[in-house]
């Protein structure tokens, strides 16, 4: 006798956010990305539609990044050139989007001007056809200036820009509204702050389908379990029709995973941990694959070898199941 499986029927689904715009939509992208839209828990095709496969945006910075050699060697000589670097990510590694970090703007570093930052964004837009995720330099005052300039210069491109945080969301939200971009709303692993921030942003007039949630994940071995559970709760909330939790989630996988010692220490230092090469790749890979299981829609990644593995994992999970 066939058994009756438990198939959940949810009241609602994850909201959908469109990133990028093609020429007839007012931009210059050759394709757009649609994130979210699922009406089931991750990859449970048997109980609802997994509307859009999760996507990977590869990280590109406007200064040479202080990353380990396992990652750097794969890129060859493009790391001092965001344009060539972005092209490589798209053409060689099939990145769905480029995640451009304008670290060079940091006042304690190169202190690049907002105009220069905007120019870099334009150049990267000119070099690749995929949509862009753009964030600043982790200095909130400077970021407000930088992102305003970027938003204006890239008007019409429907970027995903960040970061809006609880104590600093107004100027970026305004920039996104005026120039028609989407916003990353970051909250520190806290459902209530997450909802509160989404309310504040939408009260300014930015529609909910222009917001993406950044839950501030922890990397593998360093607090991923907190992110895992917060995200799982948020996904369940979205499916239960909690509109302020219904946005797709974005995860800073490459950044968090590669802060871990395990992603960087050579086997000579820690013989007990095995060779760095594969360990480093897997540290980033598993940070991504674990969070895919709790509803990550956009993964921000670094290591091309890890990107390849996660692309495969996503493709495997997108196969129908019953």
């Amino acid at each position: 006798m066939p058994i009756t499986l438990v198939k959940e029927k949810y009241q609602s689904k994850v909201g959908q956010v469109i990133i990028g715009a093609t020429p007839d939509q007012g931009g210059t992208r050759t394709k757009v990305i649609v994130a979210g839209g699922d009406s089931a828990l991750p990859f449970l095709h048997f109980e609802g539609k997994v509307e859009n496969r999760p996507v990977i945006a590869m990280e590109v910075t406007d200064i040479i990044p202080p990353w380990n050699d396992v990652i750097k060697e794969q890129f060859g000589d493009v790391l001092d050139n965001p344009i060539a670097w972005a092209k490589k990510c798209v053409e060689e590694y099939n990145a769905d989007m480029i995640y451009l970090k304008l670290i060079g703007a940091n006042p304690d570093g190169e202190n690049r001007s907002p105009e220069d930052c905007a120019r870099i964004v334009k150049e990267v837009l000119g070099a690749v056809g995929v949509p862009l995720v753009v964030v600043g330099c982790e200095d909130s005052d400077k970021d407000n200036e930088v992102m305003a300039a970027v938003a204006e210069a890239a008007a019409g491109e429907n970027l995903l820009i960040g970061l809006a945080e609880q104590d600093n969301y107004k100027s970026i939200t305004a920039a996104a509204m005026v120039h028609k971009h989407n916003v990353i709303a970051r909250s520190p692993l806290d459902i209530n702050i997450c909802k509160q921030l989404n309310i504040l942003i939408s009260e300014m007039g930015l529609p909910l389908n222009r917001i993406v949630i950044d839950p501030m994940i922890g990397g593998l071995g360093y607090g991923i379990e907190y992110a895992y559970s917060i995200m799982e709760r948020a996904r369940l909330g979205a499916l239960a029709n909690d509109k302020m939790l219904s946005m797709p989630m974005i995860c800073t996988v490459g950044y968090e995973a590669n802060r871990a010692k395990e992603a960087n220490a050579l086997a000579e230092e820690f013989p007990g941990w095995g060779e760095l090469q594969d360990r480093s790749i897997l540290w980033e890979t598993l940070t991504a694959t674990a969070l895919l299981q709790v509803g990550a829609s956009i993964l921000l990644m670094r290591n091309p070898a890890a990107v390849r593995l996660v692309q495969q994992n996503i493709a495997d999970l997108m196969e129908a199941n019953a």
Binding site: M1, P2, I3, L5, V6, L41, F43, L44, H45, F46, L220, G221, Y222, G223, I224, E225, Y228, S229, E232, R233, L236, R259, K261, E262, A267, E269, G272, W273, G274, E275, L276, Q277, D278, R279, I281, L282, W283, T285, L286, T289, A290, Q293, V294, A305, L309, V310, Q312, N313, D316, L317, M318, E319, A320, N321, A322
Partner: protein, 442 residues
């Protein structure tokens, strides 16, 4: 799992004789439901009632024990935020009997090396699954014996040929291996053999309908030490099967699926295999059989398993007392941090690598990280100053320099005032400690 008083009452003799110490059967039932008293105090309960009550109060997923303290199953929730996951996915490495003797030796040696220390925790691989791929029964027995003598870890012995199992298992039955698989073709022989040897057995069928039928047939043989294998080897279908089984067991208390579930990876390329296995660690596999046994591959998977199986209510903590690193003397640096194990061990690891014997004082912050504790008012200057005074470190060193995490530089003035130690702001990340302390020491 708790039964209601009424559910228990239905099974009682309803004599209201009071011999159990409570005046009525209903009162007795209510007491039992509240966890007070024992069923045995009623002299009149029937065997049938006893059986019914035991099975109704059994956990939704049976605990299956095998090998060297491996426990599968006994989970109660679908999401770790609902309570916690209890029994971390048992990870076993496959050894084929098609390998040559020297290959087997090398493989087992590699597996034996799968012991890791990170952030104050020790991870070890759980066991080895010997698989009969040679179709040679004698070879299989030989290999089982060889592997068993080379490891004290848990063992799985897998062959679809009952005769091969009958030859290989008795010699190691005292090690309580998990055996199988029992399929539609062989289940009577295999389950009866498992019962006779008192070892748990894997039931394997293709798909859940077939598995359901197999479990029901196998249960009729009067044995219940089962582990289920729904047969899928692709990532997506395995995720679906693991989810269905867990949901039916927990949400519907569907008894035939109230057993732990084992997953076998389908991928052969090791990095892809680990990515696949990570899905099963996250979603409900009680055990996974892997092919790769390379350290760099297994450590990340074990870290994920440890992370997801920590109790969300209780972060792992260290003793908030003065910790001594190396052969300290009166010039040794003094660091302050929190008692969140992750934070503490990130710092300890670097302090150790600096090769400068030191003191580390973790403050009791209920196991939270530096900034979480600071934001929650658990890493206040007063509190740190008190802990510093109580630690007695002042008598052990002849300097008064206290190194604090860079992330809480803002507390330095106040802390200096409260403690009358000179507060030195360290780097933000623990990875900066080595170069920091070297320059500090000049």
């Amino acid at each position: 799992m708790g039964l209601t008083g009424l559910e228990i009452y239905k099974q009682l003799p309803k004599k209201n004789c009071g011999e159990c110490g409570t005046p009525t059967c209903l009162a007795f039932a209510m007491a039992l439901a509240a966890g007070k008293g024992a069923l045995e105090t009623c002299p009149y309960v029937t065997d049938e009632a006893r059986e019914n009550l035991a099975s109704a109060s059994a956990p939704p997923i049976k605990a299956i024990k095998f090998g060297n303290e491996s426990v599968l199953g006994d989970e109660t929730v679908l999401f770790r935020h609902d309570k916690t996951f209890y029994h971390p996915t048992t990870l076993l490495i496959k050894v084929s009997d098609k390998l040559t003797d020297s290959e087997i030796e090398a493989k087992v040696q590699e597996i034996e090396g799968l012991e890791f220390d990170r952030v104050g925790l020790h991870y070890s691989i759980d066991g080895i699954a010997v698989v009969n791929e040679s179709s040679d029964q004698d070879r299989f027995s030989q290999v089982v014996e060889k592997v068993a003598s080379a490891t004290s870890r848990s063992l799985m012995v897998l062959s679809e040929n009952p005769d091969a199992l009958k030859a290989a298992v008795p010699g190691i039955a005292s090690r309580k291996p998990l055996i199988g698989p029992a399929t539609f073709e062989n289940y009577e022989a295999v389950v009866n053999f498992a019962k006779e040897q008192k070892v748990p057995v894997i039931l394997k069928a293709d798909g859940l309908d077939a598995l359901n039928e197999l479990v029901e047939s196998a249960q009729k043989l009067g044995y219940k030490e089962f582990v289920l294998d729904p047969g899928s080897r692709s990532t997506s279908q395995t995720l679906a099967n693991l989810t269905h089984l867990r949901r039916l067991a927990i949400k519907k208390k569907y008894r035939p699926f109230g057993y732990p579930v084992i997953a076998f990876t389908g991928k052969n390329e090791p990095l892809d295999e680990i990515a696949e296995a990570s899905v099963y660690v996250a979603k409900y596999a009680s055990a996974i059989v892997l092919k790769t046994s390379i350290k760099a591959h297994i450590l990340p998977l074990m870290a994920l398993r440890q992370n997801l199986y920590t109790d969300p209510q209780k972060p792992i903590q260290v003793e908030p007392t003065l910790h001594v690193i190396g052969d300290v003397n009166e010039n040794s640096p003094v660091y302050v941090t929190t008692n969140f194990s992750l934070t503490y061990y990130s710092v300890e690891g670097e302090v150790e690598s600096s090769k400068i014997p030191s003191y580390i004082l973790p403050i009791d912050t209920d196991g939270t990280s530096v900034l979480t504790a600071y934001a929650a008012g658990k890493f206040e200057p007063e509190k740190i100053a008190d802990a510093l005074a109580a630690s007695g470190v002042a008598e052990k060193v002849n300097h008064r320099n206290l190194i604090i995490p860079g992330a809480v530089a803002v507390i330095s003035g106040k802390l200096q005032e409260k403690s009358s130690w000179k507060v030195v702001v360290g780097p933000r990340e623990s990875s900066g400690i080595i170069s920091f302390v070297r320059t500090m020491q000049g």
